[in-house]
Amino acid sequence: MSYVGHVMTHLRKDLQLEWRSRDSVNGMLFFSLLVVVVFSLAFDPTASMSRQIAGGILWVALLFASITALNQAWTREQRNRVLDAQRMSPAPPSALFLGKALANLLFVAIVEAVLAPLFIVFYNLHALGQGWLFAVVMPLGTWALVCNGTFFAALGLRTRNRELLLPLILFPISIPALLGMMQATTAILTGEFDPGVWIKLLVAYNIAFTTVCLLLFETVLSAE
């Protein structure tokens, strides 16, 4: 089977497993909604102020929501010693990683698709800048979170305090990407400055870290 074939197999497996229980997506949806409500109570923004802060709130909500899903991203593999079987199979380990990361990307994208209209409603938003750029920023930003998140979730597989460790190591590494996503979103919403440099940052970040994740996943899988 080709590399892409392996990735597709892993991707299909994760999607099927998630579809049966729909735990992750439901949990993420509800969590994001709660975060949005809490922030609204915290800041009670007017229409113009909401455009300044909605970008930040959106990505904070997605960040926390992804953490809840990523924490159990690998637990499926740990049950029934599936991970040992993965290690022994001749398929390239990076395909396992890529399939899982793509599956997580789809889950978070579903959450975003539901969250976006909610944001527009709660904050009475309409983009003053180039709205079509959202189709560029959202996938780039989501991939930055999901790629590193899936990798670090695998890092913490056999640590104690696994759920605590993931945000501790993910957040510092992700800060440039978070800055990029938030600034780009705010730029599009307020139309006050150019999101170009932030989009370029996200692209560079994604290229750099996707490469590193793919190269180093095998090391992490066989870390013992």
Partner: protein, 264 residues
């Protein structure tokens, strides 16, 4: 565990132990001499900073914090590279030469801890200086934010070390170190762009403005003194780590031999 494996483990262990004993015969006295010189340099540099260097015109004496703050900041940017290099060496030697890999790992954790120590000092002295000189404890300008993020990255490295299960710790930490090293330039650039687009108050002077020639002796003496101290403390921490590795190996060997006893 076959007898051959036991023999291999024992001989590797003995090799490592002899290595440590031989080196400590030279390093011990050399270390003490180095420490003595370092303390002397630091004492002299402090005297220069507090008493000899001229008082700054606008800020007054509080500017003397600069002589501790800026050298420490400069040095705190060096140790992360040591950590990166050591982590790469560890990943390379992990399967090929486990003894060398352990050495690399000891260097990695030492340099990470020293990075955190130096960047903590940088942040603390910076805040004390900022409050007294410009009235604010903190500002989210390019330099301070980047330094804070560096601190966060290496604290997260130390947390991973602490929380991960033994056996995996070295490899996982080395991987995280690679991520952190790649992140550092990205962090730096992104924060610069952020502050170019949205300017904020800046803690003035320091590395950007030129240093008055009369301040140079105090400044460079402090750089030398704290660099020497950094090297000393890193090697001390390295020696501690090697010692710990040694007692871990001994414990493992005892466990193997105990299991052999039971098996007999």
């Amino acid at each position: 565990m076959t007898p051959v494996t036991i023999l291999l483990v024992q001989s590797a262990y003995v090799r490592g132990k002899i290595e440590i004993v031989q080196r400590s015969r030279i390093l011990g006295p050399l270390g003490i001499v180095w420490l003595g010189i370092t303390l002397g340099v630091i004492a002299y540099a402090t005297k220069l900073a507090l008493f000899v260097a001229p008082t700054e015109a606008t800020m007054g004496n509080v500017q003397r914090i600069f002589y501790y703050h800026v050298p420490t900041s400069m040095l705190s940017l060096l140790f992360p590279y040591v950590n990166f290099a050591a982590s790469l060496c560890y990943l390379y030697w992990r399967r090929r030469d486990p003894l060398k890999a352990l050495t690399a790992d000891a260097v990695a954790i030492s340099s990470a801890e020293v990075t955190v120590v130096y960047s903590t000092i940088c942040l603390a002295t910076g805040m004390l200086w900022g409050r007294a000189a410009w009235g604010i404890w903190w500002t989210w300008d390019a330099r301070l934010t980047s330094m804070l993020l560096l601190w966060l990255l290496y604290v997260s490295y130390l947390m991973l070390r602490k929380l991960s299960s033994t056996g995996q710790t070295h490899t996982l930490a080395a991987v995280l170190s690679v991520f952190a090293a790649i992140d550092v330039p990205i962090v730096y650039m992104s924060i610069q762009w952020w502050r170019t687009q949205h300017p904020a108050p800046v803690f003035g002077g320091g590395a950007d403005s030129g240093i008055d020639p009369s301040m140079k002796p105090a400044f460079w003496m402090n750089v030398l003194g704290w660099a020497m101290w950094g090297i000393f403390i890193m090697i001390l921490r390295y020696a501690l780590e090697r010692r710990r590795q040694e007692s871990e190996q001994e414990a493992a060997l005892q466990a193997i031999e105990a299991s052999l006893e039971i098996a007999k």
